[in-house]
């Protein structure tokens, strides 16, 4: 779908059409609303968290057009026509995503507040063959997600475990 031209005056509410977790959704927002707040306040998709509001912690990570981004630094109006995946869209048909499964198995969290962002980053990096599979590369690629509880060891194990599942899953299908 070709995005339509968007034009909004200050204080004016505009309509933004996007696809969230595969569903077409419509937002009524002013131009200063960021995607993070739109997802939470307008769509009540509260799995995506705010930890800093300045791209400094990664708790708000979502996928826009398949790429992991900080939703706190993207205006909702800039997402017209785009496909967005949040943590609520990771599981399919009631089945946890391999990353979710691995986070559960490896206790890759404590308080759970950074976890949606961690998993969105993990899910993206596992689909990105430009990021090497070794531990050091994964740790670097995951460093945009702060876990103040410090569960990095288990997060790393979970990511690498999910990789095995996803690889074997792919092989199973081929």
């Amino acid at each position: 779908m070709e995005p339509s031209e968007t034009s909004a005056q200050a204080d004016e509410t505009v309509t933004v059409n996007l696809f969230v977790n595969g569903e077409p959704r419509q937002l009524q927002v002013t131009s200063n609303v960021v995607l993070l707040d739109a997802l939470r306040d307008e769509l009540h998709l509260t799995g995506t968290k705010k930890g800093c509001d300045h791209g400094q912690c990664g708790a708000c990570t979502v996928h826009v057009e398949g790429k992991a981004i900080n939703s706190c630094l993207r205006l909702a109006v800039m997402c017209e026509g785009q496909h967005i995946t949040t943590v609520e869209g990771l599981a399919r048909n009631g089945e946890l995503h391999p990353v979710q499964r691995a986070f559960l198995d490896h206790d890759a969290y404590q308080c759970g507040y950074c976890t949606p962002g961690q998993m969105m980053s993990a899910a993206a990096l596992l689909e990105d063959d430009r990021i090497a599979a070794d531990d050091a590369s994964v740790r670097e690629a995951m460093s945009g997600n702060i876990c103040r509880c410090g569960a990095y060891k288990n997060i790393l194990e979970a990511v690498q475990d999910a990789r095995q599942v996803m690889v074997s899953g792919t092989e199973g299908r081929s």
């Binding site: 509260t46 800093c52 609520e88 060891k153 790393l156």
Partner: protein, 733 residues
Amino acid sequence: MDTQVIGHRTPRVDGENKLTGRADYTTDWYVDNMLHGYPVPASISHGTLEALDIEPVLAMPGVVAVYHHGNFPKLYRSPSSQAHQDQVSEVRLPFEDERIHYDGQYVAMVVAERYEQARAAAHALQARYHQDSGARPGLLETREDGRPLESEGGLRGDPDSAYERAPVKIDHVYAIAPESHMQMEMHATLAQWRDDRLIVHESTQGVVYQHKAMARIFDMPEEKVEVISHYIGSGFGNKLFMWPHAVATAAAARELGRPVKTVLSRQQDMASGGNRPASRQRLRLAADEQGRLLSMRHDSTTETSFVHPYVDSVGTPTLNLYACDNAAISHHLLEVNHGTPCPMRAPGEVSGIYALECAMDELAIALDMDPLELRRRNYSYEDPTKGLPWSSKHLDTCYDSAARRFGWERRDPRVGSMREGDEILGWGMATSSWTAGRQPCMARVELRADGTVMAACGTQDIGTGTYTVVAQTVAELTGVPLDRVEVRLGESSLPAGPLSGGSMATATTLPAVAAAVRAAIDELKEVATDEDAPFTGADPDGLAFRDGALADEQGKRVAFDDLLSGQKLGSVSGDGQAAPGDEQNQYSFRSFGAHFVEVRWDPGISRLCVSRVVSSIDIGRAVNPVTARNQVEGAIVMGIGMGLFEKLDYDPRDARLINNNYSDYIVTSHADMPEIDVELLDNPDYAFNEFGARGVGEIGLTGIAPAIANAIYHATGKRIRDLPITIEKLMEP
């Protein structure tokens, strides 16, 4: 105790909620007609608010109200008593007067229909201040020492003369910069008034405390206040006791007759939501030539704000970590124009152990002795402060095991001697320790006709795994599988439970839950022996409850759900309570452990990293080894931040906080994580409670920073006594 569930690896029962976005953190609550509050922070740290230009802001889109000193309703201060569980983080009420005591103190709160509107209006609100000269900068920026606190002192023997006579001694000053909790979820409140009831969702480590404090402040009967906190984006101590944003939010909701939600910005959270205060500590240790401690003196100063006298008790470990007949601690408190400090993970002790364990390393070097050997020679077999035996101390095993796994015997003690390419390895160690505390607690358990069991307690799970250990306890004692156990926490209307703090929640909560399980089973037995019941006429005491069923000695067995259904009962319930008892007069309870740390120092580029940490920690029984180990591993990660990165930077000229964000305040990132090997000893401490568990939240953090500092000395020859150990300190000649 042979167990089926307790002590076994158990995935979190709340895990799926956290992994799917369903977990309802305070910030996730939206209710009809809800307004958004946004505090306006002062931009000076010392002075008076002279004027606020309210009118233009009231005219902005969506703005409903602006609260400030001129129009804020009259409320009452909470007595802030720990004994009465109404303690607050800052006794001063919001907007109480026009004095400004720290940068970020709220001078107003905007309330608007939408979040963006509230934020825009808060930014637009013009304030005029009279700035007083002489804002007192942080403790470490001044030579002032504040006032002595006799209550924080301690003395045994005659440490002064022992010190004078001793052949080997050290005397050094250590300092720790103020730190920020940086919990991922900022402080947040949603307040609603329904009729004359106040319902508050708060990201809190203590629903019971906030419940009572709110009742005092709004002068209400306790039963008319409810505080809810189902999921908490952690706290590390700064969510133990209520902060002014919650009071301002509840008051605004009452005045406006609409629910109000306030989520602090990260900047506000860091400026006014608590911090670990800076400390300056002088350690004087003396020993004989064999390394036996003859004298220990620990004189500390910590800072607090001008509005709340928070004391971080840093000296206490010096009185009980090692055997020494002559020991003394003293404490001074200095008010500074910073936001109010509060407990932060292992409050006091982590700071004190830092200084003590660095000093022990320096003493070992003065003695030309292996630092581990020095600790062994001063092993305390009883608590020197109480004269009571330790309930269960296995620190020697921790030393042995961690040293072996680390490879300590291969350590070349000569500074800078262990090279690998561009890098020099440094190996250091430290003891870790945290007191084992327990509080009175109540709980309720229901056996239900649908085959589920519900356990409820007014404590909360801040990420340590409380939901799971409560479920494990119920499953263990009833034989009902975990997926049929429902745990309800985080509501002040539930039977009163403990703060999630001080590593006390597990040891406090589980015995009460166990008592409630037994009470519920007793109730079930009464029902079972009623007329027209399966065990009519039987002696209830002759029935046993196993694997979810009641059985008599003849082998007759009825599942509890069948029994309840047959009796047309939806459920039976039991109330339980538990409290520490006489064991407190027989033993002293404390956890111990040891950390061994490897750093890698590349002097060519002044780059230092922690590459390896090996730890053995004795916490009694780990009720859930998965979540318990995670606590220690996470504490190691946090300890690296404390050792190398973390410092709240206040501009000494005006005491304003400069690095109030997640970018400029550096915490440990994923790439900084070392290789971590944590062993939890499994020595149940049954003297402490029936499950043998002492708690695990704090201990892992203690000892990490000094082990790093000691390893750095071994690598570089530089003894850096001020935390954090940043690059410029390492570069000093």
